[in-house]
Amino acid sequence: MKTILYIIQKEFKQIFRNKGMLPIIFVLPLLQLIILSNAATFEVKNIKFAYIDNDHSPTSRALVERFNASAYFDVLTDYHSQTIASKAMLNGDVDVIVEIPRHFERELQKEKHHSLAITINAIDGAAAGLENVYVTQIIQDFNQEIKVDLMQISDNQIQPINIETIPLFWYNETLNYKTFMVPGILVLLVTMITLFLSGMNIVREKEIGTLEQINVTPIKKSQFIIGKLFPFWVIGMGILTVGLIIAKVIFNVPIIGSLLLLYFYTSIYILVILGIGLFISNFTDTQQQAMFIAWFFTVIFILMSGLFTPIESMPQWAQILTEFNPIKYFVEVMRMVMLKGSGFLDILPQILKTFLYAIIMNGLAVWSYKKKK
């Protein structure tokens, strides 16, 4: 026990002595939490909208005015021809183009029916889908309006059936995406810091040659590993704590569930990450290799965690792969406990899986760490 304490002391000293690292460990993550949480929105706003009005009639102007009034669209100038408009779209100045044909109003009154050409830049497919919904909605509303305007006699024959839908957004009524992103990004930061630090740690001693010195001391394998990893565990918990305070104070994210449960889960979770880090450290010879591997897994873990894109949309095989993604579980638990107030029994499956993961990873790590070359 005393030996472990000395190693822990040594590790902490080493961390705090490296002045260049301190801001990277403690300031950078929290700064990112504050800034980047604002970035992650799928809302589509400020759509760059342009129109070509070949009709110049009251109806065409009224239609354009509709788009102008909508909060989603930034209406740009009237382009004179399709060629100029297409060029603007190539240039990235325009996302949606509506072309109102000649004699639009006249034909609409005569035929009661007219088509309207809409061009949408669809490189971002999801955004294009939403833009299409907004455009269609505006035109539909407009249809209702001109029905009243253009029809002289209101023939109120049969009342149409109306299915009314009431959308209710539970746990986040205003659809504030920060409520979701702040806990999610906090998860990423805790994970990255602990994984990178632990992944580099032992391999560094190897590379510099100090590992041999430790190996000839009477320190036991388990003592050494516990002593090495404990400081990172503390740092991870520390970042979680400061991050939660930031979430509450700056972003006003509700913390409905039990904080104790959150800490309990995190304490197991960090063990998983440290185990992975140590395992990587044991299997590599240089810090460069260790970092490449850590980087590889982090990018995969992050993008397949369900944080930025939904897991349900992935193909079946990819969904099975996400079962091995610790970040996925942490994101789920954070979301459930903080925002929904889920209890111990609700997150029991996640706890058990994480616990099992921790045992396997740390087992592998201890097994793969050899004192002798």
Binding site: I120, I163, F180, M200, F292, T309, P310, E312, R335
Partner: protein, 368 residues
């Protein structure tokens, strides 16, 4: 010059001798682009939902059938009481619950009006909103069917054309993004590590007392990595063409030129990082912690920049990846030439020059 070539040769030896790093260097981008090209999508599919049906009549049955027939939703379970909704959400089993009011059919016939609540788990607001919109669209369509031709009076029918990506594939969005992330991080990380490594191991001193000029040392260090990154870029582009059927509408030559430019700017950033860090650990933490999330989030890779708050839109301008993503999307999907992306190209050139200038200024010929 001969000395310089000798130095570059030595750097190549270093890299090729380390088989494991080399394997990682080439294997990982391939694995990642395959994984993400197939797995990541921000469309919604097969979302699990639950039904709370207070009327259980013909109309609600038909609506439920319509919803379960769509590829977006699969009905996971039936809930019997309002009180159960919370516990279903808390376990995280479903993302939405549809709540039909009592006497749904009767109300629809008598009062021409009936109500459905779409309750979504908005802890993930992006998905919740999409789910709500999709269910609404299905119901609207059904309502139209019920009303038949009753409401048709004046109709403007939008004929929408989705250009550049008619099938709305999300691969078109993600392949350029993943390519950017890989090039950015690999290039910046590799150079920053290779220079600080010499510092940490003490071999920098030997280089400094050699007759090579500091600039030659830096260029010699970076040169092999340009070569490796170009190979990576080629592999990624080939994969995206043959496996993901990404079109290359524009000029391949221009694409190659822009990629090399971006690689050089990432390498320059790597050099800059190495001049300000003393150990490999610091260099790696800066290039990983400092670059990874900003590059993923602020480059327009996943989230549209135009929708971000204004300060973030301003900050996103200093991310080289943002400009590169605009350029390659333009070349690959829109088929534009240099006349459309010269502004972005100039910005990348400017950034590269800036990183280089600072590195040269900060580069220390003497050790402390």
């Amino acid at each position: 010059m001969k000395r310089f070539i000798g130095f570059v040769k030595k750097e190549f030896y270093h890299i090729f001798r380390d088989r494991r790093s080399l394997f990682i260097l080439f294997g990982m981008p391939i694995a990642q682009i395959m994984l993400f090209g197939f797995a990541i999508t921000n469309e919604i599919n097969n979302v699990d939902i639950a039904i709370l049906d207070h009327s259980k009549d013909a109309t609600t049955n038909e609506i439920i059938h319509k919803i379960s027939a769509s590829k977006y939703f699969s009905i996971k379970q039936m809930v019997t009481r309002e009180a159960d909704i919370a516990s279903v959400f808390k376990k995280g089993q479903v993302k939405a619950v549809l709540n039909f009011e009592k006497d749904f059919s009767k109300n629809l016939i008598k009062e021409h009006k009936a109500t459905i609540q779409i309750i979504t788990d908005a802890t993930d607001p992006n998905t919740a909103n999409t789910i709500s919109n999709y269910i609404n669209a299905i119901l609207q369509k059904y309502q139209k069917e019920l009303n038949n031709d009753l409401t048709i009076t004046y109709q403007i029918v939008p004929k929408t054309r989705m250009v550049y990506n008619p099938e709305l594939k999300s691969v078109y969005m993600f392949v350029p993004g993943v390519m950017t992330i890989i090039l950015m991080l690999v290039s910046a990380m590799m150079t920053s590590i290779s220079i600080t490594r010499e510092k940490e191991l003490g071999t920098m001193e030997i280089l400094l007392v050699s007759p090579l000029k500091p600039l030659q040392v830096i260029v010699g260090k970076v040169f092999p990595y340009i070569f490796l990154s170009v190979i990576n870029a080629i592999v990624i582009v080939v994969l995206s063409i043959f496996i993901f059927k990404m079109p290359i509408e524009g000029s391949l030559l221009l694409l190659a030129f822009e990629s090399v430019l971006f690689i050089i700017s990432a390498l320059a950033l790597g050099i800059l990082i190495s001049t300000i860090s003393a150990t490999q650990q610091t260099a790696m933490m800066i290039s990983l912690m400092g670059l990874m999330l900003p590059v993923i989030l602020l480059s327009g890779f996943i989230f549209p920049i135009a929708s971000m708050p204004l300060p973030l839109q301003v900050i996103s301008n200093i991310i080289p990846a943002k400009w590169f993503i605009i350029i390659i999307k333009g070349i690959m999907l829109k088929g534009v030439g240099l006349e459309y992306v010269w502004k972005e190209t100039l910005i990348l050139v400017g950034m590269t020059a800036f990183f280089m200038a600072i590195s040269v200024k900060k580069y220390k010929i003497r050790l402390e």
